[in-house]
Amino acid sequence: MQRIKCECGHVNPEGTVLCEACGKPIEQNQHIDGNENKKLLNMRYEGSARRSKTYNKSIVDKIWNFFSSVKVGVWLIILTLIASAVGTIFPQEMYIPPGVNPAEHYKDSYGLFGQIYYQLGFHNLFSSWWYMILVASIGVSLVICSIDRVVPLYRALKKQRAKRHDVFIQRQRLFGETKNATSEDIQKLVEQLKKKNYKVTEDNGHYLAEKGRFSRWGPYVNHIGLIIILLAAMLRSLPFMYVEDYVWVREGETKVIPQTEQQYYIKNEDFIFEVYDENDERFAEAIKRNGEMVPSNFQTNAVIYKVDGDTIPGQDPELTEVKSGEIIVNKPLKIEDIDISLYQASYQLNEFQSMSFKLHVKDDAEENAIGEFTFDMQNPQSEYDLGNGYKAVVDEYYPEFYMENGIPASKSKYPRDPAFIFFVYGPDIEKYEVNFLAIGANLNPSEDNKYKLSLTGLDMRDVTGLTVKRDHTLPYFAVGAIIFMIGVVQGMYWYHRRIWIHPTKDGVWIAAHTNKNWFGIKKDLEKMLEENNIEMPKDQQQLE
């Protein structure tokens, strides 16, 4: 490694573009920042030696330099963006209807493009190894880019001297010459700068006034925040940090809580659904505008049980009550022993619980009951005795009825839209009479029935949807996000301004540099130089 000794005496690391101390351009390295044939110096990273641009020897260096490149980082981000966008064209596998074969589903629903989509694995994009590697590479790039830039920048800002090389001063964007300026004029300017909260250092009659160097660390603070957020996301794959699942529980039902290894059960005692009163004048108008009822509360009154002793799945477990309570939106019920909380997340109202029927003579206008029975959706019998020798046999029960190619079938096991085929037997019925009943429809295949089954009543129940969750990662996300914001604010609302006062034989040179907001630094200078004999520096970029 060759170190470069500047004429000011400072020894710079290899690859330095502008001497760390005096700012003199180092001749052989001007191509690095594209300074050749330009009037102005590129002040990025103070012209310090970014290691990545200098060597490339061992494999470690090669990997390091690959990730250290901002160009590579930007490409990684672009590729991830494109991939993420493609992943949203069709639904991901977890969102297609349960029970269907994905290979067929994508082909049937979206055609050839859907098939290609499936075969290339885009249906599971966000958990695919290559997508995760892309995101991870962004993280790696973030760390290495930051290390490779913050260290040299820090060095250069620390080593800078007040006395700069003539060339450095002349090649700043804001530069002005004043002949016949006296040392009193200079002193006055120094005082003015101090009043404006510039930190002034002196070196042999040369001055450097600096303000807001703190702003330069903004991007790196910001990156630290991002890295913490990435780490927090990684923690989510550890079960003791993060668990998320979902469970639907019907009123009166006792169900195993997922993610508890079948050790805990929940019973839905009651689901309460309250709406805002439409007769209350405070809400009346809003409810009218909304066109439907607005829920004011939904909650589950739940009991949590623990399994006693060893049971294998499927056996009737011995349950002991652990706790009971209300689960309200934003007020979860926590099971302390296993550190899992249940959140009210969703609901379905009015599932059928039971339906009552009566048998009567079809032509009887009074519909006098010959016999009655109640069909319990949870626990149906295969036949119901109606008395006097009549009985109804359940031939088919469809909890969620629909017709598939003319054949009745059920979409699910949940009684949301039940339909029944009953065979009615009786002493005066030759074989049996078929009764096909569905909600709001009489689908009887035969007109010749003597008897008829009619609905007399029904019971409804609600279903609660609960999120089962353990999340200890949120504080890390919060810390990461706060640090991220601090970094943004630091870089956005402060400016790193420097003004160099460079006395010459017959006057003084003034040069100034800021990392952003050139308008602001010009204003600063104009105000001070108004009452001074020193001329306002010119913006050399505009002159070019």
Partner: protein, 180 residues
């Protein structure tokens, strides 16, 4: 100078190793998450469920010792599940002789619908009812049908998500025939 270069190499190597470790950790944990519960080669979890249409309870570990077991998770509201039932019925007698049992685990909510389906289709292989969905939870069943083929020693030979064809079914059943 050489010293400094060496220090830099060590620093870079350490940073890269830490980053590599983090990436590997993230990949491994995320890619393994899905099959965390059960995978091929592991011991199939035990369960005990009541048989439909018979006064009998099946215990996976006790009742099928030394036999290959095909566990088929299905439901009456699942069309592709119902489609493969005839294949199972067709192969059941032949493989029962060879020491392979077929056990269909229904995820329906009521015994009534399962019984009706069984009778109407004249199914002879045993069907058990996972009423509370505990076995489904234990076996991490997401799509149905899902079928587990279990070796006579109780380890999982194969997990098939989605429908089976007759020829697939036969070859998978052959894999779990016990050595005589």
């Amino acid at each position: 100078m050489a010293n400094k270069k060496q220090k830099r190499l060590i620093f870079r190597t350490i940073v890269l190793l830490i980053l590599l470790g983090a990436v590997v950790f993230a990949l491994v944990t995320n890619l393994n998450n899905d099959n965390e519960v059960l995978e091929e080669g592991q011991l199939a979890k035990n369960f005990e469920l009541a048989q439909i249409g018979a006064n009998n309870t099946f215990n996976l570990h006790d009742d099928f010792k030394g036999k290959g077991v095909m566990l088929n998770f299905w439901a009456t509201y699942c069309e592709p599940c119902k489609d493969e039932m005839p294949y199972m019925e067709q192969l059941y007698p032949k493989f029962k002789e060879k020491g392979v049992e077929i056990l269909a685990v229904s995820l329906d909510s009521t015994t009534l619908v399962i019984e009706n389906f069984m009778k109407k289709n004249n199914l002879t292989f045993p069907i058990v009812h996972d009423k509370r969905g505990e076995v489904m939870d234990a076996y991490n069943i997401v799509p149905i049908p899902t079928t587990y083929f279990i070796h006579p020693d109780g380890t999982i030979a194969r997990i098939v998500e989605g429908p089976l064809t007759l020829s697939n079914l036969e070859s998978y059943l052959n894999e779990i025939v016990p050595d005589s």
